[in-house]
Amino acid sequence: MNETLLKISGLKADADGKEILHGIDLEIGPGEVHVLMGPNGAGKSTLGNALMGHPSYEITGGRILFGGKDITDESVEMRARDGLFLSFQSPVEIPGVTVADLIRTAAEALTGKRIFLADFRKRLYEKMDFLRMEREWAQREVNVGFSGGERKKAEILQLLMLEPSLAILDETDSGLDVDAVRTVSAGVEAFCSDGKKSLLIITHSARILEELKVDKTHVLVDGKIVDEGDAGLAASIIQDGFTRYEKA
């Protein structure tokens, strides 16, 4: 597999007039699993949001190619329709909108096709059962009154239902109890089991990676990629932290 799915080159991004990403280069191929690590405040979430097109981040340099197409100036929704998905570090509440409504509307928006309720429900319940979510959950308002762990599960449910070609998981594993991590990991594994879907996993811990075959690890410090390696790099950072990258 030689063609790249995502190709970021020289990406610079500002928030509030301050540069946060100082020129990022990163490539992900189809079916690949990449890990992005870095200390708090390094710019990991900013990178995820810049890729998704968050209006608060201004791209001041570089390009983003996705599936061979330049999406640097594309709207958020077009990127989503292209096949990009972001599992949020802190997903927001949408009062009055149910989880089922959100996912069905999203699926229709992404595919441009009408989805019949019965088919939709059947698939939704399958995925919910798989993620050990009570079915009543489908009728709860999106993230309203959800615990931190529940919010992350709801993100993974969307991931499984919407089947993007590249998913960015921003600390989807943090704040989860032992069982929940296992369930979420199983969900992520199921997502990429066909070997065609790609992942960029932002994480501080090893557990979500255990069942996955990691192709590459990137280390982000102060808005720059400072190191790259294979699965072993992720393991050694989880062990030793980022002190090795501190400026002398």
Binding site: A80, R81, I94, G96, V97, T105
Partner: protein, 468 residues
């Protein structure tokens, strides 16, 4: 680009189409004794009603226009036609209704809704009811659902005389007096003691004629221990001449009876909607209001409930949506006049593109109303910087043991929420519409399904082009 929606796409034409008035009977515009006499004889009023109209006209002539609330200067009574009768009688068979009127209601989904889930339907076109039908099994329970005019000549005339404009007397305000003088059409419903009507009754008002007023009167009496859900829908196409709606709704909820009154009003943006609704609730009775106010240029709408008997209760769920050029002044009044009465008011209001939405709540607890409980919660959403949303609460409490709650919140659409939905593939417009629909969910969940769908459609329609 293709539109993606979570409810069916609609366009304004659904409501804005209109038909020519062919050979319709119209009184001349403006209002004087001769016009009222003409309406009265055209309608073949009993003497008392004839006299009542003329008394109301006198009151109308000497009463000043209210000096608060939105301006109604754009309303010139000399140009309003108070009575327009379509060229047809009333029919109980849908096939007998004239084609263009039938088409109007079919576009609005009325007979379809009836086939699906209603116990009875009335359809009013301009000033007169053109269609009326009640399911046999409901009729067999002794339920009376008819137009008010027929009822005035039938076995229930005494009952009507005892209740008509007793809750809302013509002296109440200038437009109540106007209503008393020129009222036409509307419904009379009587549910006998102990009868539970399982499926809702519906009436639909369509004001088609240009520069006309609609003054329908709805009188509902739910007798002891009975139970009814009544739904009212209203719409009108847009003309460049002001139209007026000054209807009146009087609801009597007897001992231990229950009435739910749901309304979706969707007036054209040149309508002055000055409607008066009032309910009187006896001991143990329960009154539930569900109200959606869309459209109109100016609305003044303050449904009032008088909790007259011990343990009577009232629940109000409502929404208003004020867009460009609209001044919607709505509110709820409740009077607790007996011990252990309870009321709960929950409303949502939305304003955009310079629309003004004002919500007035008035809770009155008299000295008799020991241990009354009342709660008021209003939430407003402003979709941009130029729109306005105000809440004006008033409480008058004459007991020492009342349990009162009040909460008002004004907010805006969260940018992060819009981003979140867009990241799931929704366009910005759809994202905002979904957030607004969610905001209104506490109201739509109270509506029958077709109406909830219609309300969501209206929200989508109002949200169109709401971005930059």
């Amino acid at each position: 680009m293709k539109q993606k929606t979570f409810v069916d796409d609609i366009n304004r034409e659904l409501y804005d189409f209109r038909y020519e008035e062919k050979d319709y009977f119209r009184v001349r515009s403006g209002l004087d004794r001769a016009v009222v006499e003409e309406i009265s004889s055209e309608k073949n009023d009993p003497q008392w009603m004839h006299d009542f109209r003329l008394r109301s006209l006198e009151i109308y002539n000497r009463m000043p226009v209210q000096n608060w609330g939105p301006s109604i200067d754009g309303l010139d009574m000399d140009n309003i036609v108070t009575y327009v009768r379509p060229n047809t009688g009333m029919s109980a068979k849908w096939s007998d209704v004239p084609d263009e009127i039938k088409e109007t209601f079919e576009k609005l989904g009325i007979p379809k809704a009836e086939r699906q889930s209603l116990a009875g339907v009335g359809a009013q076109y301009d000033s007169e009811l053109v269609y009326h039908n009640v399911r046999k099994e409901v009729e067999e329970q002794g339920v009376i659902y008819t137009d008010l005019e027929s009822a005035l000549h039938g076995p229930y005339q005494e009952m009507i005389r005892d209740h008509f404009m007793k809750l809302v007397p013509p002296t109440d305000h200038k437009f109540a007096a106007l209503h008393g003088a020129v009222w036409s059409g509307g419904s009379f419903v009587y549910v006998p003691a102990g009868v539970k009507v399982e499926i809702p009754l519906q009436s639909y008002f369509r004001l088609n004629a240009k520069g006309a007023g609609q003054f329908e009167h709805t009188l509902i009496i739910v007798d002891e221990g009975a139970d009814l859900h009544f739904i009212e829908g209203c719409s009108a196409p847009k003309y460049n001449v002001a139209n007026l709606h000054a209807g009146c709704v009087e609801l009597y909820v007897r001992k231990n009876a229950k009435l739910r009154y749901s309304t979706i009003e969707n007036w054209s943006k040149n309508m002055y909607n000055l409607n008066t609704k009032r309910a009187l609730v006896a001991e143990g009775g329960s009154m539930e209001w569900v109200s959606g106010s869309f459209g109109s240029h100016v609305s003044c709408l303050y449904p009032m409930t008088i909790l007259e008997g011990e343990e009577a209760s009232m629940n109000f769920t409502g929404i208003t949506f004020a867009g460009e050029g609209q001044d919607l002044d709505t509110g709820v009044k409740v009077v607790h006049n007996a011990p252990h009465t309870t009321s709960s008011i929950g409303t949502r209001s939305i304003s955009k593109s310079g629309g003004v939405s004002t919500f007035r709540s008035s809770v009155q607890i008299t000295a008799r109303a020991k241990k009354a409980r009342a709660s008021v919660s209003c939430q407003s959403l402003m979709l941009d910087e130029i729109s306005r949303s105000d809440t004006i609460p008033s409480m008058d409490i004459r007991t020492g043991d009342a349990d009162i709650g009040h909460e008002a919140r004004i907010g805006r659409i969260s940018d992060e929420a819009v981003y979140y939905l867009r990241s799931r593939g929704l366009s910005e417009e759809d994202a905002r519409a979904m957030i607004v629909t969610g905001f209104c969910e506490s109201v739509s969940r109270e509506l029958p399904l077709e109406y909830a769908v219609e309300m969501n459609n209206l929200i989508r329609l109002e949200m169109k082009g709401s971005i930059g």
